[in-house]
């Protein structure tokens, strides 16, 4: 899942630069946001994927559960890209960067702890 996301991000990143003629002002911010965003999405996605494995209504329920939990990651990622592309206000991205780091740390830790028990119950 993480690999797929990274590839998607790279393709979209190149697309944005080429098609919109956007100039990347703060490259490290873009790279960091990609890495952190990928970790966040992969961690929550894996958790919910494992949780909803074997559910008959999985297709309906999974997006409903997953989208709100991933919303902070998506928001933070968007804002950091914005900061990275526009430059100048790079410090603007800082609270979002902090949010992503905290989010990733919490959900990866949670994932490590509860993945075993989830597998047992599924």
């Amino acid at each position: 899942m993480a690999a797929q996301l990274i590839v998607l991000e790279a393709v979209l990143g190149v697309g944005v630069v080429l098609l919109y003629g956007a100039k990347i002002e703060v490259p490290w911010l873009i790279v960091v946001s990609c890495v952190l965003g990928t970790v966040g999405l992969a961690a929550t996605g894996t958790l919910y994927g494992a949780l909803s494995a074997g559910l008959r209504v999985r297709e309906t329920l999974l997006p409903f559960l997953f989208l709100p939990i991933a919303a902070p990651v998506l928001l933070a990622g968007t804002r950091m890209w914005q900061a990275g592309l526009s430059g100048g206000t790079a410090s603007y991205g800082n609270p979002w960067l902090r949010l992503l780091v905290v989010f990733d740390a919490v959900y990866v830790a949670l994932g490590i702890v509860v993945f075993g028990p989830i597998q047992e119950s599924a």
């Binding site: 958790l47 949780l51 989208l67 919303a71 919490v106």
Partner: protein, 261 residues
């Protein structure tokens, strides 16, 4: 449903539990009435906000119950359910009741905040960090309630729901700190601020405090009643299953005889 003598009688609530519920309910009504009286007639209008300030006696209290008390309790009881030593359907029911009441309070938070936002900020809704994260929290716990509706064995459902409640609860501190991290439209904490020195005084402070107490009591009362309904629902569920099984068996018997003949 036809009366079925063989289904066991509903689980009886002890008279002490009944009395506690009743006393809490009555106290909640009295405290709420007192808050309304103090909030609307006794306290003075605010220097800046005028009569709009009266929403302060409701909105933070409702938010406190929804975001911290209800969802916090749901998270703790989910954790206690998952902990092997304290595993019991009691915690699962408590979490479910807590989330359901919490969702109601969460919706009230958004509505009362919106009513306040229109005259003070000029908008009903803004994609402000705190507003957004509160709305996200609501959707998260609606997801929890949706998951509970998926038919499953009580133990499987309890475990699954407990995990979802835990994941969702991580959003609570983000909501609380969002006001500090992002300097946004929504004001910072008035009562539970970093210095623990409330920036509100006199009769207004007391009314605010009473409002918190009243809403907490309302929450506890609703929680107790909802918990009791949960117990009765489970009892009814097993009862219905017994009836259905017996009906099937009753149907099955004559058909077999016909086939044999």
């Amino acid at each position: 449903m036809s009366p079925n003598p063989s289904v066991s009688a509903p689980p009886v609530q002890s008279s002490r539990a009944r009395w506690t519920t009743r006393v809490i309910g009555i106290t909640a009504v009295v405290a709420t009435a007192l808050t309304v009286w103090l909030g609307l007639w006794v306290t003075p209008p605010d220097q800046v906000q005028g009569n709009l300030v009266r929403l302060v006696y409701i909105h933070p209290g409702v938010a406190w119950v929804a975001l911290y008390l209800a969802f916090g309790l749901a998270a703790v009881s989910s954790l206690l359910y998952l902990w092997p030593r304290t595993r019991s359907l009691f915690w699962d029911r408590l979490a479910a009741a807590s989330v359901e009441v919490g969702v109601v309070f969460n919706i009230c938070t958004l509505i009362s905040g919106s009513i306040w936002g229109k005259p003070t900020w000029g908008v009903w809704w803004a994609w402000d960090a705190r507003l957004t994260s509160t709305a996200v929290l609501l959707v998260l716990f609606l997801g929890y309630l949706a998951l509970r509706r998926v038919p499953a064995e009580p133990e499987v459902r309890a475990k699954r729901s407990a995990f979802v409640a835990l994941f969702a609860a991580v959003d609570i501190p983000i909501v609380h700190f969002s006001v500090l991290w992002w300097k946004t439209l929504h004001q910072g904490a008035t009562v539970l601020n970093a210095n623990l020195s409330p920036t509100i005084h006199g009769s207004m402070a007391w009314t605010l405090l009473l409002g918190f107490l009243a809403l907490t009591l309302v929450f506890v009362w609703m929680l107790l009643v909802r918990f009791r309904i949960g117990v009765l629902e489970d009892w009814l569920g097993t009862g219905e299953l017994d009836v259905a099984l017996r009906e099937r068996q009753a149907e099955g018997a004559p058909i077999d005889e016909d086939e044999a003949a």
